[in-house]
Subunit: 430 residues, 2 copies
Amino acid sequence: MSHLSLGLAGLGVVGAKTAELLMSQADIWQQKTGKKLTLTAVSARDRTKDRGIDLTGVDFEEDPVALAHRGDIDVVIELIGGSEGPARALVEAALASGKHVVTANKALIAHHGQELAKLAEQHGVQLFFEAAVAGGIPALKVLREGLAANHISRVTGILNGTCNYILTEMTQTGRDFGDVLAEAQAKGFAEADPSFDVDGVDAAHKLAILAALAYGEQIDFSSVNISGIRSITGTDIAYAGELGYVIKLLGIAERSGIRSVQPCLIAHNDQLAKIDGALNAVAFEAEPVQTVLTTGPGAGAGPTSSAVLADVLDIATGRGGLPFGRFVDTLGPSAHVPHDPEERRYYLRAMVPDRAGILSAITSILKDKDISVESMLQRGQSEDAPVALVMTLHPARADAVLAACDVLTASDFINGSVLALPILDRIERH
Amino acid sequence: MSHLSLGLAGLGVVGAKTAELLMSQADIWQQKTGKKLTLTAVSARDRTKDRGIDLTGVDFEEDPVALAHRGDIDVVIELIGGSEGPARALVEAALASGKHVVTANKALIAHHGQELAKLAEQHGVQLFFEAAVAGGIPALKVLREGLAANHISRVTGILNGTCNYILTEMTQTGRDFGDVLAEAQAKGFAEADPSFDVDGVDAAHKLAILAALAYGEQIDFSSVNISGIRSITGTDIAYAGELGYVIKLLGIAERSGIRSVQPCLIAHNDQLAKIDGALNAVAFEAEPVQTVLTTGPGAGAGPTSSAVLADVLDIATGRGGLPFGRFVDTLGPSAHVPHDPEERRYYLRAMVPDRAGILSAITSILKDKDISVESMLQRGQSEDAPVALVMTLHPARADAVLAACDVLTASDFINGSVLALPILDRIERH
């Protein structure tokens, strides 16, 4: 009977759940892989904390990097988090000393994935990170292996459960962003400092990883255009609904085009429009398969440990492969472009005083950028407060729309910033 | 540079597309696998038929089994179809002579998967059949590898695109089964003899394979309760819609329960209710991941060749594994039960004459089986023709409902058969 010895760093909720499953179901792992999996050592900040798991017989290392240097460990599981510091030091040391690495660390892979994959290649070991993208959904396996024979043209994802939960609640209850965020924080669905989630950074980490895998290119986190959901109001959601759309924070990576994370309007009967609450989803448009969509829970101890353990079982079974599906030296430069080159319809919202001449001033500014208005809605009436003026625009390029928004935002008759969101008429072609 | 030499049997639309992709994108396969993939020989019924592909330099074998005996072939791709005859002979011979096999043949695997997997084990070769289930969706890879660490409790699938297309058309246009089927046949979406699809046999093949993989048990095609969609009328769909449900042909496999393919009512806002047209979908309910759903095209040359090639690339990359995720000898007997043991609500429809006393006669028969009525609808009125009487029943066991239906169908006041469909209130728990 052959063995596989594991070291695990980071005993938060995901780490504790992973450790518990590794130990409690050893017989099942043996049945599936033909190997006896043993959790040999763990490392965490606080040795004494009660995590509800019995770690008797498992060594404890104060310094996570010590796991990388132990001769009795084959696979290091990194669940510390963060793109630098101990997580990076551990993964680098583990790969360099010939150990396989499984990590759930999206920031680490988005920023250093390439160097780490190169290190794994040089030392002939596996580096897997299924849990880094879309939680429990095996999205990377689907992309890298299940759709390996395809030419991917677009990847579209709902990649942050917190944002999707907030937008869903806003849509279903009509409440505003701040109100729903506060409730989500109280319930533990959102962090005390929510900026990583609601500003789109977390989704952008995942999108950068997906783009690299989909297009065989170097990871370039800095190429992702990021805007979050703080600027979306209940009014925007209501107007979008009236127009037949829902607002979702979407990560989009097109082969020779944008990599972006931004709120978008999608038709209410689109598959992705129906992904509600904290669920994640990733849709792959590809030839010859057409569109494959995967959905499931994007976070949480259970879903994340499912993905971490799938990687461990792949290693135990000898189902190896290159982290990005090709040798690092064959990855091309990212083919991203700074602005979305596709002409798209846009949703535009400005807060304006309710008086004559405003509409004409706005359409004149749009016309200067060759942008024409498709429809206009202005419901509320108020002599005192500004009201929302909502327009949909005929297909235009992102740079023209953004330039027009800048002029509008700077003009003295508009309160606050003008919001422009792309309308994606068809995410999926069936 | 190492090589992988392929033999392909069956040059229908899927075979021709697979051959074309193998040859035209050889450089991509080499980049991804590090191996040069060569299509060495093919076999088909008609050598001279124009398939729009150039097979110059590729050997032709009149007898597909000859592919198995050639010393210069590493992998046999079987795309002939059918559970017996040349397909079975080829796959058995190929495995027995130490060749890896990739097949899209659901009937072959549903009927002989176990013996074939055993043969693959004995000869140390791979047997993969991703394309046999849900076409372009990598559902088997998701289940066997992506969710390998999970305890699966239920698999629910829309597994036949023809049925889903017909039911979707009936729902969206209000037309009847025969009308939509005839149109689907004219468009080439349904076979001239549609029974394999509309009677649920094709979906049952796929369900039997999914159940074996999900529960680590022997494939038992005969354990699947099968009923197709011929008995569903436009009236049923309209009444179901009024009650908040859509009718889908679902394959369901529960760990210690039914394996069935039958039309079911599911809530209109359920994820699976939104899978329209010829799409397939498979939902896995599991611990610790919760629910993961995959959807995509379930048939067609492109999607199917995508799945076939993914298997070939797995073999080329050395991503092996056991066909059912475990050794054949460790597969347990199927834990299916003859009737669904879960108490469920049911939809009941009978065609009855429009006169007094009928309702009381029906409820009395139901009461004899301890079944109580939750709601009743009867819209039409006609003195000449029977009208539809629709009921929903409080939770009851399938055997009681079926027994009541038998009594009702045999009674002299009911025209034709009584239809009973389970109402699945929650396919997916989010």
